[in-house]
């Protein structure tokens, strides 16, 4: 039976719950991914960036699952994450296939520079 863990963030400071840490990390991942999507031009990097955004979103769901469950985590977010991962994986696979086709057909591996 899982027991809620606590992370000590400093003496006398308020205790940060694990799920809160997860939440902060999730937001961080989300922002990193978002920045990368806009900043990177390489096809593969852009696809990876979308995966990082996805990781952020899923982690957020997981952190919510533990939110006010003292003993058992809420199963609904878990189901959502599993579904989400399946959907996201297929989208990523599709994106990769497209990138590969582009690379094979035109040799380009970056956005921009393509003929209009």
């Amino acid at each position: 039976m899982p027991i809620p863990q606590r992370v000590q963030t400093g003496k006398g400071a308020r205790v940060m719950e694990t799920h809160e840490l997860y939440g902060v990390v999730a937001v961080g991942l989300f922002c990193i991914g978002l920045a990368a999507v806009f900043l990177c031009r390489h096809l593969l990097k852009k696809i990876i960036a979308t995966k990082i955004i996805g990781a952020g979103a899923f982690l957020m769901l997981i952190s919510i699952a533990e939110r006010d469950a003292e003993i058992i985590a809420d199963p609904v977010p878990h189901a959502m994450v599993i579904t989400g991962i399946v959907v996201a994986v297929s989208a990523a696979a599709f994106a990769l296939a497209l990138a590969r086709q582009i690379r094979m057909k035109s040799g380009q591996s970056e956005f921009g520079g393509e003929p209009k």
Partner: protein, 510 residues
Amino acid sequence: MSALFQSSNLPAWLVLVPVIGGVVTFLLPVRLRGGVGLLFAALTTLPALFAGWLLTGGTSMRHALGGWEAPLGIALELDGLGAVFILMTAVVGLIVSIYARVYFSTVVPDPARASMFWPLWLLLWAGLNGMYLSEDLFNLYVVIEVVGIAAVGLAVLSGKTPALVAGLRYLIAAIVGSMAYLMGVALLFGATGVLDISMAAAALDSGPTARTAFALILLGLMVKTALFPLHFWLPPAHSSAEPPVSAILSALVLKGTFYIILRLWVEIFDVSLSFAAGQIVGALGATAVIWGSLQALRQDRLKLVIAHSSVAQIGYLFLLFPLITVPLGASGEAEWAIFAWTGAIYQVLAHGFAKAAFFLAIGVVVIAFGNDRRESILNLVGRLPMVTFAIGLAGVSLIGLPPSGGFLAKWMLLKAVFASGQWWWVPFILVGSLLTAGYIFMILRLAFAPADKEVPMRKVPRGLQLCALLLAIAAIVIALPAEWITGLLQGMSAFGDPVELMSNGGEAVR
């Protein structure tokens, strides 16, 4: 057995039929796919028409999938607003399917290339119907992804490099959009513990969480709806696809996410809205109207003109939000809200029909002359009169000239703008109309201009031209059953009501 066909199962059939169609066509050998695909398109239209008939007079029906009620199960709800979108999807979808059947069997020499059209399109259709029916926030995420992936799959059907690059750009934008949506849903779930829209609405309090969730969801969906300035992916993707696909993407797919924004705006996020939120979204829409039209005027290729025009026309839709988001105390006299609603819905319909007609007509031009450069349509009126006529009629509706669906939309929007006192939207609506007239008549002027030398022309099946004309005519006559359509809309609980806000701090009362 007969229980299966009860009218209460209608929402399920609306999704199930195209899904079955998608799977069946995928399993069939390539040469059979066209016929069977068209059959399933027709079969999908039937429950949609039935839904329109059933909901006349403004009722709604709820269907719990598998008999499990929310919060445990997932509910589908068919109300008037959804029915209007479903009907439009069905009518446009059926005509585009007929076009596609002829197009892929006679014009495209390589059947294998086209073979994926039917499974993807039917799946997309199922996803769209899902968007219009789903009562569950996470379920919406899934159908958004389904629609996104199927749409990109269709967009890259031609396999040419520009289409592939545009498709990948589209896909990445779509993934980012849906992830932002999912993040918002996660926050919302964290705040309320439910996913059912009406339950979440009841449980959600205003506050920073609700506001952040709202911003994320709105941003994600705005990317997918291609609202300025998040529209960058649209023109290349829509203009490089095959004609029936461009028609589907522009006329139907953009409307799906708009519908979700509208639904969430009035049903959940009324607690975290402020007058400013409506104004900001409206300002984006107004800018889109001007920007998209200006860009359309500058394009050399007809498909790009039409694709940029979509950016502008989508902008008009977002003028609904400032008009229905009013300070507290104003709602008692905000009878203009019903005009704003009607105007926006008519803009959806008129743009759906007209834009589909446009892309199909340009498709015929491309078949006939091999390209869609502006010069290629010189003397089009003498060579393809039916197509010119279709372009003219669709153009009339896009500009908003009477008598057409577009006219009704502009009339209602303008009326709401005046009546609400938000007169600052007037110039945008008008200048948008004039610019639209500019690029439409640029096309028509070329179509009437003499050609210096006659370019050889490939024969185009009459059926293709007829499909374009049919949709264009629909964009005009859609104005006639306005009474019936607004009657359908009464079935949506929020229809015609402004979202009421307190003037201080944007706290809303329910």
